[in-house]
Assembly symmetry: C2
């Protein structure tokens, strides 16, 4: 991207103009930008010279711009601005906002502020807002907007275009239009492209698609984003359990969902509780609360590893040099397992691997791990025998263990996520930390058992 | 998603129809589906009853459908089909395909097939295709299409709509239209929505946006997808170094890019070489080649850990029980570090954390790790003293080490990815395996040094 608007210089200029109370010049400067960038600048203004100046600047923006900018601000800044402007200004912003953005804002605002806003809405609006506020946070319902274009099947193209012309600016999108029957059931969809390239007197019914891909209002947002990825649509209709059209979801909102879902997977795979809060915004206490439980659970698993070691104390005390190779064996086991786990988890997430493939995956991992284990074992054999001079029996113990451990780790690493999915647990929870703990146990048992056997202790 | 078309029953029905050579009934059944689903069915047909029947079925599809279906097939199946149909049929498919899909196909096909196709193109087409084939694989250039709608600034809305009507069906999108000057420099963009809601005699110039967000043809696809995420556009113009418009990228192609980039991050974070090949399609040998190097590098780091242990052999041989706590200390260190690394890497990827925040991140991690370290240490103190009865000095050694190790691990885990970004290395490479190896060294040194000091050995 070459035309980054929010440069250090421009930011400095705007801050200086505000410090010097040159508000209208600051406004003119800021209005050259896209609304997304204006929001970014406003965030910086709040952080650098405080909310008061930011509110003065915000108030100088044209009404339609300020509503859009407001929608892009983080929730803390939204609340700060709401607290600094008049009720009438709040009302203006809410009226100008897209319905789905408004719902997002209302979901985050304190209850007393929401009440203040709802007071001024009509009864019908209040009912609709309350319905939307009640959908589960990660459902299709919480992503959708009721602001779509409805056409009747017996309209002509000319009538449809006239209808779009009159309503187009208030709708989330005009590029996909929806045709319903009297019972609000979805009959078909027609794209604006089709309407624009068709002749004026053609009837909408003859143009509409009837094999419609839709989602249910209670479907999880991950399923919704998978549907978008699969079909590449710009918008998808959302229906209730009676198949009545209740809203639409547009692709721009899905980009955020995809980021959210990816972050969730990363968090799960690192053994951190899932959270949508930003890293820096989260309190120390919350960070501790999100990280401690898994660390504790995994730590307990090491009590088992520790007691296995204790039971082999006799071996250890005789051949103390064995301890020096323990970190390598455990570490390589953990890394091997985590490679396989990550590849399988990601493969399942994007649909390359599914549960039917369990045999193929196992067979592949067995061959891959055998080859990798063999190479690493041979390298170690050379090192231990010739470089470190510990003799072939120690080398054989370490290398035999290495081979077994790599094979075991890759088998566990690939099968555990698939097993988790089979029983309905998120495979992402079976990633590195979990696999490493398990392979550590396997490593210790294998190593000391082999030592007892080979070294005859 | 409730209306999954590709059910086990429907698939079975189609396979039976094909086995029974009832091709036209199979075609009628398959044509009820979306083209994406038709491609999915065709894949299954190829896998289950072979390419011959699949080709017969493919040939019965209407020309425009077959081109779209072809674009959605995996490359192996595309090559198989190309080899089974006539040159004229190949030409038909290529002609019907969207330009960017065609480039994707040509990029993957064997050179002799590409030559056969290019032979039949006009000179101008060949030049354009060759230009597109030469853009780096992950650049904006390789994602874009030259099939956009161009308008002139002095056109009226009526003229613009008439132009869109005549060209609309051959263009990648009609929803964003582009206005260029005589030198092909981009002057402005106008959305179809704006055109449709405006009056017929308004001039395009008065409607167009001039503050255009664009990308350079050589920008990396990750920057392109970040731009889409930031602004929520349906299409973004691509310009060359002289700011001339050379193509556009549409949002549906970005969804695939986002998936690809995420997979890359996962691969890097697991210490696997980056590859876009599907898990099951990749040969055992390629899997080994992608995984062995990092395992080898990390294994070498354990040689250092091992020699640290060897240098403390005197301590170990006297208090052999210390070995039992080593896996717990190393494991918890690795897990703590990997939590911090993952949070910081992801935070930087989505833009929540940037390099300026290094002080804030460090201060946060220090406090979080101190609290977590303290809790885990106390729990271990109780266990070692009262449950296992090893006495306070062993307990103090283990718990003191635990506190130091957790703090060190979280500091390394958070700082290393930021340092990597600072010097231009992908932070994702500094994830769990790397962090675990480093914290293992720290763990071993801390533990044995503390043991020497506290136990007075």
């Amino acid at each position: 991207m070459e035309n980054e608007f929010v440069t250090e210089e421009r930011l400095q200029l705007i801050l200086e103009l505000l410090e010097g109370k040159k508000y209208s010049r600051a406004r003119d400067e800021i209005l050259k930008a896209n609304t997304v960038d204006i929001a970014e600048i406003l965030e910086e203004v709040i952080e650098d010279i405080g909310i008061e100046k930011a509110i003065i600047l915000f108030r100088t923006l044209p009404k339609d711009v300020s509503a859009e900018v407001f929608a892009y601000l983080p929730i803390d800044d939204q609340v700060a601005i709401i607290n600094g402007i008049t009720d009438r200004e709040i009302q203006h912003i809410i009226d100008e906002m897209d319905f789905d953005d408004m719902i997002d804002v209302l979901e985050e605002l304190p209850a007393n502020v929401v009440d203040k806003i709802l007071e001024k809405s009509t009864k019908e609006e209040r009912r609709l807002i309350n319905t939307f506020l009640n959908y589960p946070e990660t459902s299709a319902g919480s992503l959708m907007t009721p602001d779509y274009i409805s056409l009747r099947k017996n309209m002509t193209v000319a009538e449809a275009l006239a209808h779009i012309k009159s309503e187009g600016m208030d709708r989330e999108t005009v590029y996909t239009c929806y045709i319903k029957d009297e019972g609000r059931k979805l009959l078909g969809i027609v794209s604006l492209r089709t309407l624009v390239v068709s002749d004026d007197d053609v009837v909408v019914e003859s143009l509409m698609h009837e094999d419609i891909i839709y989602v249910n209002v209670l479907d999880d947002q991950e399923d919704v984003s998978d549907t978008f990825k699969k079909y590449g649509f710009l918008a998808i209709p959302v229906v209730d359990n009676e198949k009545r059209l209740v809203g639409i979801i547009t692709v721009d909102d899905i980009l955020d969902v995809i980021d959210e879902e990816t972050t969730e997977d990363f968090q799960k795979m690192a053994g951190v509780a899932v959270s949508t809060e930003e890293y820096l915004d989260m309190s120390v206490w919350k960070h501790v609360k999100n990280r401690l439980p898994w660390l504790f659970v995994l730590m307990c698993s090491y009590i088992i590893t520790g007691s296995i070691i204790t039971s082999f104390e006799a071996v250890l005390s005789q051949v103390i040099v064995l301890v020096a190779y323990l970190p390598m064996l455990m570490g390589t086991g953990g890394n091997s397992g985590s490679q396989s786990a990550t590849l399988v988890i990601r493969g399942m997430a994007v649909g390359d691997v599914d549960l039917r493939d369990v045999g193929k995956v196992l067979w592949k991992e067995l061959r891959v791990s055998f080859m990798i284990g063999l190479v690493l074992s041979l390298l170690n054999f050379i090192r231990i025998c010739w470089v470190e001079g510990h003799g072939p029996w120690i080398a054989l113990t370490v290398c035999g263990s290495m081979l077994v451990i790599v094979i075991a780790a890759k088998t566990i690493g690939s099968m555990l996520p698939m097993g988790a999915k089979k029983v309905g647990i998120d495979p992402a929870l079976m990633a590195s930390p979990m696999i490493a703990s398990l392979t550590d146990m396997v490593s210790v048992v294998t190593y000391f058992a082999l030592a007892t056997f080979i070294l005859g202790i």
